[in-house]
Symmetry: C2
Subunit: 287 residues, 2 copies
């Protein structure tokens, strides 16, 4: 049970976490803070949060759990503002899609309070944004990865783990480096491919005809191209090295596929498509 929960950033993820914890009766009071007054008002109207604090210091003063649900690029500034006003009992966690850069910023800003920061990342979300698309079951049976550092307080980790499990998720611990390398392939690269495909089509002379002929395959491969641009720009910049590694690999692989088509190498194509299909069928069975 959390007595006083403060969420900084009441969007899809922050709003859904508030909804899930309220539905589970796991939180007594939820305070929201953010940049958009309209969004915060909507969050109160929807019953997602109890109250708004326009001052960050007031928002966190009495909190025992503080969740940063912001684009990765906004975290550093918030850590700096949090450092002087954090209460002793407060645990801080985040939901950022990149962990190494967030941990560096938290360590630099928080000083000895860094031990009470538990880096986290729920593997859930949709291409939508804003509290209006938040839902209480967003995390149900989804995975949340926690990446505590050597100095992270064990009790703080336990409190964050318990919060996510109350929200319906399963938790797992990884090193930040492992998280960032794995997510570069499982999430960040697919987003780049979807943005790139959608952007190529919109700049094509046949744009309208292509969109009119778009069936299920095109729709599914581009769904995440509707994701929040600022959030994904931040992820690109924050996880640059790991993302570049998988993008270069993909670029080379796509070059090899193009060459096989150019040469009319049907055997190569069959072998590659079969390997991919086998792996995708296995993922389907797992789901």
């Amino acid at each position: 049970m959390i007595e006083k929960l403060t969420i900084i950033g009441i969007g899809l993820v922050g709003g859904s976490l508030a909804r899930a914890l309220r539905a589970a009766n796991y939180v007594h009071e939820v305070t929201g803070h953010g940049r958009s007054v309209g969004n915060l008002q909507l969050a109160v109207e929807l019953g997602v949060i109890d109250r708004v604090e326009v001052s960050l210091a007031d928002a966190v003063r009495h909190a025992d759990m503080i969740v940063l649900a912001l684009p990765v690029g906004c975290m550093g500034e918030i850590f700096k503002q949090l450092a002087p006003v954090l209460a002793d009992q407060a645990v801080v966690t985040d939901v950022g899609s990149v962990k190494g850069s967030v941990i560096e910023e938290a360590r630099a800003a928080l000083g000895k309070r860094f031990a009470h920061f538990v880096p986290g990342h729920p593997l859930a979300g949709t291409e939508q944004s804003g509290v209006g698309s938040s839902q209480a079951d967003l995390f149900r049976e989804r995975r949340v990865i926690l990446t505590p550092e050597t100095g992270t307080d064990a009790d703080a980790v336990e409190r964050v783990r318990a919060m996510w499990e109350a929200a319906g998720a399963q938790t797992q611990t990884l090193s930040a480096a492992d998280h960032d390398r794995i997510l570069a392939a499982s999430s960040h690269l697919p987003h780049m491919l979807a943005y790139c495909l959608m952007d190529m089509v919109v700049r094509n002379d046949d744009h309208r005809a292509i969109i009119e002929c778009a069936a299920g395959g095109f729709r599914d491969t581009t769904r995440i191209a509707a994701s929040d641009p600022a959030m994904w720009r931040d992820i690109c910049l924050a996880n640059r090295d790991a993302l570049l590694a998988v993008m270069r690999q993909y670029h080379a692989d796509l070059g090899a596929l193009t060459e096989a088509i150019e040469k009319g190498d049907g055997d190569w194509l069959m072998e590659t498509f079969n390997r991919a299909k086998h792996a995708r069928d296995a993922l389907n069975k797992k789901l």
Copy 2:
């Protein structure tokens, strides 16, 4: 109304067409022909077709509509076998994802009967294969593109159009060249990207961890990597030039995106992601 319909290839598309036309009471008798006896037996057991003919000549002798629902690479051989046994009243159509190559093969094989061949392509399907996944509503409100040539008989086109509309689809006419260029971007390229991503991941050292961390984005962008490998090898070979053009464009665009990330060019990323998001949001509204 079709008196005698013969479908060559009772898979997802052929089976779904039979189901749809029976559900609409638009066909009196459906004869199936294909390579897999087990699949044909299943089609009879499921009530998808009325009867099986193991000889192609017997299967088409009395048919007034013949639908070729086969991988593009199998069409040429079937046209050659059809040429000497086609009845006068028979209209022939196909469901191939590439039209230029199929038309060339039909023209070469069918002689003066080429006028009764109406090239077609239903923009419907899933990543699944086989009559077991066929469904009567697969074509409901989906688009079917017909690409008649200058010499194609107008009455034959009308009969094929009416058949697809009875199955619930909307029909549209394009030139074969326009079809192949547009579909290369709207369908063939997305399939290449999905196969390439899935194949890259399965060959990665982190394969298991990446699959375990795969959330909705990865699942959606790779769904069509479970598609039939032989069908897609054939499409690659049959639509080589148009596919190569969009693959090279995509390869260059992905290179530019990689370079922007390497340089940390946040403005470029924002501009590109915003343009893509805007286009994808517009597609969502259209659906």
